[in-house]
């Protein structure tokens, strides 16, 4: 459960509190529950996000991600359990929490008749920033999201990706300790997604803040998050780094991918001889071989054995690599396991 990341100490505005326990876990929930009538949207959630990490909340639409986020911000009252955000109860100290937590809502919107800068100015005033201080913060935030040259056009001329970036600038204005992003990459084209993820990575590095983001797009979460929580039917069914989750939810096998020069003798027989190899099959489309190693812990030894074998039998192998466990696979096994285990009746759309 250790986070392998070391991040620069955040520049402190509010005094020396960086090593107090509340800073150690900027977001922590205990048995947090939200019920809508009969339906349970969030079911006894225990979540802990460490300082300075990017935490990905992963789940299908309707899994309870947004509800959780709204409870963390004090915008929805929990039906049970408790939450602590920057050491405070969001239900009882909503203003203080909202002052220190930047929030990018799901499909964020801006006042279309106002310019990007005017929209940010409104947010700045709502946060009690005035005149030069506000203008400074606005200019900085706009620069960080790369919108300086479009800042003075009306926001109804912005693309979805630009709105999303403006939303991030909006959340950064208050110089937050924690940034909560709800589906930051939804309905954005791939290039825009890459831009936003790059931006987020840079921001976390530069400002050293804690980020909680939710997404249903698994590969993005995998590429940016230090730790991931898998969320299904209002429950957190797995937390950890992607490799950790792979060992928990994987099928216990490691996957290798190998390519051979055309015209070599069929390597299948040779590959299957290696102890630990469960299966070796050729993908007809790409021509690569997929090798299943079980148990997964044998993968290093199996790789060495295959290289030796290749040299011995003149298999003319051109590449051999271990496939990273895809979060998508993990997610699927995790959710399937849960559905079997808990006999969930609901069907998510």
């Amino acid at each position: 459960m250790t986070t392998a990341t070391t991040r620069p100490a955040r520049r402190r505005r509010h005094g020396p509190a960086s090593d107090s326990p509340s800073e150690a876990a900027p977001i922590r929930t205990r048995a947090l529950t939200k019920r809508y009538g009969e339906r349970i949207a969030v079911d006894a959630l225990d979540l802990e996000v460490h300082a300075g990490e990017i935490f990905g909340l992963l789940g299908q639409n309707g899994a309870g991600k947004t509800t959780t986020i709204l409870m963390l911000l004090g915008l929805t009252e929990p039906s049970g359990g408790s939450a602590r955000v920057v050491g405070l109860d969001p239900t009882r100290h909503p203003l203080e929490v909202k002052r220190r937590v930047g929030y990018l809502p799901d499909s964020v919107g801006f006042y279309g008749s106002m310019t990007g800068r005017a929209n940010l100015r409104y947010t700045a005033r709502l946060n009690g920033l005035v005149e030069e201080e506000a203008e400074e913060h606005i200019a900085l935030a706009l620069e960080q999201v790369g919108l300086t040259d479009r800042a003075d056009s009306r926001t109804d001329t912005y693309s979805r990706g630009m709105l999303q970036r403006l939303g991030i600038a909006d959340a950064l204005l208050k110089d937050p300790d924690v940034l909560i992003l709800d589906e930051p990459t939804a309905s954005i084209d791939p290039i825009g997604i890459a831009e936003i993820l790059g931006l987020l990575r840079r921001l976390v590095r530069e400002r050293g803040m804690t980020v909680l983001l939710s997404s249903h797009l698994l590969d993005q979460v995998q590429s940016i998050c230090d730790r991931v929580g898998i969320f299904a039917h209002g429950k957190l069914i797995g937390v950890g780094t992607v490799p950790e989750l792979a060992t928990t939810f994987g099928d216990g096998a490691a996957h290798l991918e190998a390519t051979f020069l055309d015209g070599t003798t069929d390597p299948a027989g040779a590959l299957r001889e290696v102890p630990g190899v469960e299966a070796a099959e050729r993908d007809a489309d790409s021509g690569t071989w997929r090798i299943v190693v079980r148990p997964a812990t044998e993968s290093v030894r199996v790789r060495e054995a295959i290289i030796d074998l290749g040299a011995k039998r003149a298999l003319r192998m051109t590449s051999l690599r271990e496939l990273e466990p895809s979060l998508e696979d993990i997610y699927r096994t995790a959710v399937a396991g849960m559905t079997r285990g808990f006999a969930v009746e609901e069907v998510t759309a």
Partner: protein
């Protein structure tokens, strides 16, 4: 556990600069929006017409009217209650009575639901302001803008009276005019609160606008017709055998008419703007009738007497406004942030 205790011990660490009360920031932004919006100019034109048109048609007649009432103390107020007899144009206060609801609904029907539609509501509510700051700010902004327009219109009429007709208002008339303005602001805020309620309850701005204008049409135009019909059925004055019966039936039908807020506003306006109106109701007994006839001759009420006469009307209007606003407020506070 100790972590939480420690966190509790230092909750308000970052009270560096207390932000200005949120509703003011919201109101500022809303006023700026209103003033630059198309609807503001449309409504300015409408109210301007409400002021100028009666004056234009009456500009000839009003001189003679003014000279007729020269000797009395309320020549100035005639500008607001004069209705030309040759064309069917309501007096200024009648016009305000009909247009003000439109103003109120037009400035509030999309207050909350447009924030939802644009996706700005969650962003707005995640700023360090209380949730009611949004409703309060929007209500205050609408009220401020409409009040400014109303004051401007009354100013134009007064200016016309002073410059063109040479009628200078007395102190009493100024007080009555200001009181009438205050009454009109209450009347507008009733509709503003109603519009706000619609914008909270109805998710689509277009639907809210339709419902709002539908209700306005019902109240302002058909309302008195329909309620009059009902009153005619419940209290058929024509069937009365004696004068006493006729009088009590009239009183009943008036009470029924007063269920309409528009009636309340019109009666109160009439009393405030015309000191010679000594009663809002037809007398309901023969004794009262005789008394009324004796008083009717050239009797002018002082301002506090007029105020006393319409006090129930004002209270009823304020209560209605408060009810509408409270309903909007409570609904909004309980609503989920996301759609």
């Amino acid at each position: 556990m100790t972590a939480e205790a420690q966190a509790q011990a230092q909750p308000a660490r970052a009270v560096i600069s207390r932000p200005p009360s949120g509703w003011r920031v919201v109101a500022q932004k809303e006023i700026a929006d209103h003033v630059s919006s198309a609807r503001f100019y449309v409504l300015l034109l409408m109210l301007g017409a409400a002021a100028i048109v009666p004056l234009y048609f009456a500009s000839d007649a009003i001189r003679s009217v003014a000279s007729q009432v020269q000797d009395t103390r309320n020549a100035f107020l005639v500008l607001f209650i004069y209705a030309p007899s040759d064309i069917p144009i309501p007096p200024v206060f009648g016009f305000v009575g009909i247009v003000a609801p439109l103003l109120g609904v037009a400035f509030a029907f999309d207050a909350i639901n447009s924030e939802r539609a644009e996706g700005t509501l969650p962003r707005l509510l995640s700023q360090p302001i209380y949730r009611d700051d949004v409703v309060n700010g929007k209500f205050a902004a609408g009220l401020a803008v409409i009040t400014i327009v109303l004051v401007a219109v009354v100013g134009v009429i007064s200016g016309f009276g002073i410059v063109r007709l040479g009628i200078v208002p007395s102190l009493g008339e100024v007080i009555r005019l200001l009181a009438w303005l205050a009454l009109s602001v209450v009347w507008v805020s009733l509709w503003l609160a109603f519009g706000l309620l619609l914008s909270v309850v109805i998710r689509r701005a277009a639907t809210a606008a339709l419902v709002g204008f539908g209700v306005w049409l019902l109240v302002a135009i058909f309302g008195q017709l329909i309620v009059g019909l009902i009153a005619g059925i419940v209290a058929p004055v024509a069937s009365a055998g004696t004068i006493g019966e006729a009088l009590s039936l009239t009183a009943l039908s008036e009470t029924i008419l007063r269920l309409l807020p528009l009636t309340l506003y019109q009666e109160a306006s009439r009393v405030l703007l015309n000191p010679s109106v000594t009663t809002v109701a037809t007398p309901s007994t023969i004794g009262q009738l005789q008394q009324w006839q004796q008083q009717a001759e050239g009797q002018l009420l002082t301002f506090d007497q007029s105020a006393l006469l319409i006090w129930p009307h004002v209270v009823a209007l304020i209560a209605l406004t408060a009810t509408c606003f409270a309903a909007a407020y409570v609904r909004f506070m309980r609503q989920e942030v996301r759609a």
